[in-house]
């Protein structure tokens, strides 16, 4: 993109405007500031009040977690330097690092941990992710730096959860009404300066920060003075802003990635181990998808390989499994045996068995959530399905709405309208997600059977890796054979970053946690 170096704008107003913007740039360079532009804003600064990736990525900067994922996605000690698990597997005793302080200067200790967990289980306003914490019965402050968590049953996914942003530790000084909307006190690498809703979150360096287990080189406070996380919804706008230097890091438009790489100015960073998985999921409580053949017809009738190729141009991969690559239990070869290779004729056959044909297409609706070009992907699937005789209307909605709508669809047993299906997405660090999704009553009140419940319970209570793998794979096989949870591709959202050349040290950790601890902006 050319920037105006000629005499330029015709209007005085424009000239002033330009001066203003260049002026801004000059100051930003001096203050070691980095601007990260994202397609949307976070929902809340309170980790218990939102579930979006956009929110989590901000929490990561403000708060810290007891454990941290290493580059391979394995949970490692972080603020908790060690832990003990009782014989029966029901009690976790965690020892905390000494000398950590919250942003307001108060010491970070066991009380903060208890405050956070109690808050998550608050009767009136429980955390949106309460169940992911596991069957916690009580939290006990043993001493300042020791905390004991008791479970009512064994929960294999507890430690990985403590490395996830949903378990961000909220300091116990967050008692103001404004917490979540204009104040947030954590122990993370950056402090909150200001959140202008819809526009930007401004953070500044936490000079007291200490890193124990995060997979970055810098063990002290971040090099950046300021981190500004801006909302810029339009991909083209983000790209333009990247090119002019108004923004340093952003997700580029997918269609331009090839060109960006060719131009070579901006660096393209593709995150691995995102834990993200995109899959088909059906309202199985009523026709047409109460019949497995209808579900299989959708699976046979769509070609994810071709679709992601067109839309993401090789930046995404075909995913056969219901859980993402890098997550315990993912095995492409294993999953592919039970998968559904693109086979339109087979789909037509199955539909014919059900009484559908060219004159009597199967009518249904496909839910898709906004962003990441998923609506375009959906449009391709829609066209493919039309060829086998499935008329799928597309409804695009935000992820929160989609969660609600999917659940509602499953619960509408007697509704005369045809059941829907959806391109659901989940990002999780452990196969325990399958328990959340499919163990009765199920996150979406969807497909459940007693035998699946039993299989899922086994994945929770089996801690020994070999045995757990077998248990997980049994579940995978069951889900795929029943065409309940049909994997499509991975990763699925916000995993590509374009980074300006003057920026170094930008990393995206496992499960899509961008980390700015090592980042430096050259003059």
């Amino acid at each position: 993109m050319r920037r105006s170096t000629t005499s330029g704008p015709v209007l005085g107003l424009l000239a002033t405007a330009l001066l203003a913007s260049t002026g801004q740039l000059a100051t930003s360079a001096q203050a070691a500031e980095l601007v990260w532009a994202r397609y949307g804003d976070l929902d809340s600064l309170d980790p218990h009040r939102a579930t979006s990736t956009l929110s989590m990525q901000v929490w990561d900067q403000i708060y810290d977690t007891l454990l941290a994922f290493d580059a391979d996605g394995q949970p490692q000690p972080h603020l908790a330097k060690s832990w003990e698990i009782s014989e029966d597997g029901l009690t976790y005793t965690l020892a905390l690092e000494d000398g950590v302080v919250c942003h307001d200067g108060s010491p970070f200790d066991a009380n903060d941990v208890k405050f956070t967990i109690d808050r998550a289980f608050d009767e009136a306003q429980p955390s949106l992710t309460r169940t992911a914490w596991g069957p916690i019965e009580s939290v006990e402050v043993v001493d300042t730096l020791t905390v004991k968590v008791s479970m009512s049953s064994k929960f294999g996914a507890f430690l990985p959860f403590l490395a996830d942003s949903f378990s961000s530790i909220v300091c116990d000084t967050n008692t103001a009404d404004t917490f979540g909307s204009s104040t947030a006190i954590g122990a993370g690498p950056f402090k909150l300066v200001e959140w202008v809703k819809g526009d930007a979150v401004t953070l500044e360096k936490n000079p007291d920060y200490r890193n124990f287990g995060k997979p970055v080189e810098n063990m002290g406070p971040p090099h950046l003075d300021r981190l500004v996380i801006k909302t810029v919804p339009e991909p083209q706008t983000r790209l333009a802003a990247l090119q002019t230097g108004e923004v340093h890091v952003a997700e580029p438009p997918f269609d331009d990635i090839a060109a960006i790489r060719e131009a070579g100015e901006l660096e393209i960073v593709v995150a691995d181990n995102t834990g993200q998985n995109v899959f088909w999921e059906f309202a199985i409580s009523r026709p047409p998808f109460d019949d497995i053949r209808a579900r299989q017809a959708v699976a046979y009738g769509t070609d994810p390989e071709m679709a992601i190729d067109i839309i993401y141009g090789g930046l995404s991969q075909r995913e056969w499994c219901p859980i993402a690559r890098g997550v315990f239990g993912n095995d492409q070869e294993f999953c592919e045996q039970f998968g559904y290779e693109y086979d339109p004729e087979k789909a037509v056959e199955l539909l014919a068995e059900l009484g559908y044909g060219p004159d009597n297409p199967l009518e249904t609706t496909m839910f898709v959530w906004t962003g990441g070009n998923r609506h375009k992907l959906a449009e391709i699937f829609q066209a493919q399905l039309a060829q086998v005789g499935i008329n799928a209307a597309i409804e695009i909605m935000d992820i929160g709405t989609m969660n609600a709508r999917v659940k509602e669809q499953n619960e509408l047993v007697d509704d005369p309208s045809p059941g829907t299906f959806d391109m659901m997405t989940w990002s999780w660090y452990d196969p325990d997600i399958l328990y959340a999704l499919w163990h009765s009553p199920g996150a979406y009140s969807g497909f459940t059977t007693p035998e699946l419940d039993a299989m899922l319970e086994l994945t929770r209570t089996t801690i020994e890796p070999e045995a757990r793998l077998a248990a997980v794979q049994d579940v995978i096989q069951y889900l795929m054979e029943n065409a309940v949870h049909v994997g499509l591709y991975t990763p699925g959202w916000e995993w590509v970053f374009a980074v300006r050349p003057e920026v170094s040290g930008f990393k995206v950790g496992a499960f899509l946690h961008p980390m700015f601890n090592d980042v430096e902006v050259k003059e």
Partner: protein, 293 residues
């Protein structure tokens, strides 16, 4: 002097007649508007014949191909033919116009007629309500309707229709007020005419010409509004070849495939312009006071 009023009545009195089309074609705006609208209708009716490709067919050509002989308006990111999509889009556009204006016109007409005819408290309450809704502005009412009805093109049409009811009610009401204070109305009352006769035989025919003008102009507003909602993602859903929706999908590709942005925009602008001109033309024919302007 009464004679000054004569030409208005003279032309206003012309019954919907043979000469109307002729008169319309003699006004420059009416002629251009009529041609544009005729082209739109033809495109909608004959879309199957005119469009070289199936508007939904992906990979009808290479992806993001610039305009060429094979693809006059280029192709989109799925390799669909933009020209064919625009031609088929005319159908949706006409539907939007007819349905949205149909809803708002009939409801607004009824409301305005009743309010204007009833007078007294009925009128005050109804028109007060209409004023209130009016100050909500159309887009907000449309958004509220969509929040209730849910997203989709049909719902968008309904929402736009509902949102413009206050506008049509106001216009109808103001015309009814003028008409019911004219002596001919009083003459009909004096003749012993009842409610229905007064409303339908005397008021309605005198309100209709104004509403024809407003309705024609209203089609352009409705098309714009629907395109706007579709652009925001609240209206048409894939794969509908709705022009506003096509524009919104061109946003990410504006630098790589500007033709995806240019042609649907031109189609909307020309259609809206056509209905605006047609409305101006009809007004010129029906209200000659405007003609001197």
């Amino acid at each position: 002097m009464a004679s000054a009023a004569e030409p208005v009545h003279a032309a206003a009195g012309t019954p919907a007649s043979r000469s109307f089309l002729g008169a319309l074609l003699r006004t420059p705006s009416g002629a251009v508007g009529l041609v544009v609208v005729a082209v739109l209708v033809l495109a909608a009716v004959l879309a199957g014949v005119i469009a070289p490709y199936d508007p939904l067919r992906m990979a009808a050509g290479p992806r993001l191909a610039p305009p060429s002989w094979a693809h006059w308006f280029g192709t989109d990111d799925f390799g669909r033919d933009v020209f064919s999509r625009i031609v088929y889009g005319a159908r949706l556009t006409l539907q939007i116009g007819v349905i949205a204006v149909g809803i708002s016109l009939t409801s607004g007409l009824l409301l305005g007629l009743v309010a204007g005819y009833a007078s007294g408290w009925t009128e005050r309450v109804l028109m007060r309500l209409v004023d209130v809704l009016f100050s909500f502005t159309e887009i907000v009412i449309a958004l509220a309707c969509l929040a209730i009805l849910g997203i989709g093109l049909t719902n968008a049409m309904i929402a736009i229709g509902i949102a413009s009811i206050p506008f049509y009610a106001r216009i109808t009401h103001s015309v009814v007020l003028v008409e019911r204070n004219k002596p001919y109305f009083e003459a009909a009352v004096a003749g012993g005419a009842g409610h229905l006769r007064l409303i339908f035989r005397h008021l309605l025919p005198n309100v209709v010409p104004t509403l024809i003008v407003v309705g024609t102009l209203g089609v352009s507003t409705a098309v714009l509004a629907a395109a706007g909602l579709s652009f925001l993602g609240l209206g048409a859903q894939p794969p509908q070849p709705e022009w506003g929706f096509m524009l919104s999908s061109s946003r990410d590709l504006i630098s790589r495939a500007p033709w995806m942005m240019i042609f649907p925009g031109v189609a909307i602008a020309i259609t809206v312009l056509g209905f605006n001109l047609l409305g101006d033309g009809v007004r010129e024919v029906l209200d000659p006071r405007q003609r001197q302007r």
